[in-house]
Subunit: 182 residues, 2 copies
Amino acid sequence: MSRQGLSSVSSSKLADFVSVNPWQIRKDFSYFGDFGTRGVGYDIENLAKQIKKILKLDTTRKTALVGVGNLGSAIMAYTGFGTYGFQITAAFDNDPAKIGRKMNDVAVENISMLDTLGKRQVDMAIIAVPEQAAQDVADALVRAGVKGILNFSPRRIVVPKKIKVITIDIATDLARLPYYIP
Amino acid sequence: MSRQGLSSVSSSKLADFVSVNPWQIRKDFSYFGDFGTRGVGYDIENLAKQIKKILKLDTTRKTALVGVGNLGSAIMAYTGFGTYGFQITAAFDNDPAKIGRKMNDVAVENISMLDTLGKRQVDMAIIAVPEQAAQDVADALVRAGVKGILNFSPRRIVVPKKIKVITIDIATDLARLPYYIP
DNA sequence: TAGTGCTTGTGAACACAATCACAAAGTCAT
DNA sequence: ATGACTTTGTGATTGTGTTCACAAGCACTA
Ligand SMILES: NC(=O)c1ccc[n+]([C@@H]2O[C@H](COP(=O)([O-])OP(=O)(O)OC[C@H]3O[C@@H](n4cnc5c(N)ncnc54)[C@H](O)[C@@H]3O)[C@@H](O)[C@H]2O)c1
Ligand SMILES: NC(=O)c1ccc[n+]([C@@H]2O[C@H](COP(=O)([O-])OP(=O)(O)OC[C@H]3O[C@@H](n4cnc5c(N)ncnc54)[C@H](O)[C@@H]3O)[C@@H](O)[C@H]2O)c1
């Protein structure tokens, strides 16, 4: 909306957009503060800024990728992370054939260099290695000071409580579809 | 557990495994029927069968892939869909250079062949095309009789109410991490 | 068969989230 | 300045899902 030159938006416009009720929008916003102006609506620029602040998306963050295989290569090629201020600034693999290859200005490093992440201010990582290796990689990432992990392997990985792990299992997501198919 | 030769399991074992309370497990199961035996627990084989039935995962299903680019190639190479009885039996692209290429015994077809899916008993599809093309592809899939769509493009796609769409936006999932990082 | 030890299944109590209805606060035209 | 019109913010209400506590049921032993 900001890009379209609009300056303010009402709760019912927002509600239509995400298919919920206007009062749900207003109630949710009100838990965090008074963002709107009565009779007018919400200032788009300011609203976006406030939401980014609440979700801690108001700073750019460096992210590492571990495992540059089929999925890892796709992720390295993906440009959509910039939307939220993320940069993939490091990639690691244990396959000598892949180490040194460059994609999107990032060179693939040897997995043994993982412990340099702390010094490089990288605090998030994406795991895209075979599931047998996932736990070992997670342990190494935690030792390197990473605070958040996006895990694509279909395996529960165990980390200290302070570390947040989000697991995406594409097969499980696909498995949600049949329930809705007659 | 079945593979490990175990025959029955208690609600508290299951609860530990997925990090919830035992009574939550029992309550949820009880909404669908009496699966367990008091004093013993749940028969693993039967429990798995019942859950598969509830989630409609008790039949094998054919799935089509549209868009054999970076992400699409990774998905075609992925073997994890078999767990839930899914088979990727068709793949489509509009790039002549990709049409005809074979991966995992599936040949990439011209996107114009999409309307043959109905006759081939394919009722689910995965969209992995650029976001500008996502809506057009979705429309074509619906016309071809597909009932469920897994959408990887970061775009809201509009379909008839009868059709179920699940959208996975990897960047948005990654964007959930900073909130938990101090 | 009676007793002991487990584990399930579930009504009741509770906590939380969604919904409603409306006062408060702004805009705009006259 | 006033009145008509919008739109927000929120206490009160309703609805839904989670948690609790315990009776009911089964296995095993003697
Ligand atoms: N491909 C998909 O569409 C898909 C979908 C869902 C989940 N996954 C999961 O994502 C993960 C990766 O899938 P993929 O298809 O890219 O596999 P892949 O085999 O193509 O890639 C794995 C990469 O990890 C590297 N690797 C292996 N062990 C390593 C280690 N100890 N340290 C560093 N690097 C190591 C390999 O050299 C390889 O480059 C798997 O766990 C898979 O189950 C993949
Ligand atoms: N690569 C990632 O890691 C990643 C992550 C999240 C989301 N996505 C999304 O997934 C989608 C695909 O990403 P990608 O990186 O594989 O892109 P890509 O450009 O590598 O692949 C897109 C493929 O779709 C084909 N295509 C284009 N228009 C088509 C049409 N009308 N009909 C049929 N095929 C068509 C192209 O020929 C190409 O092979 C994009 O929407 C992207 O935003 C990708």
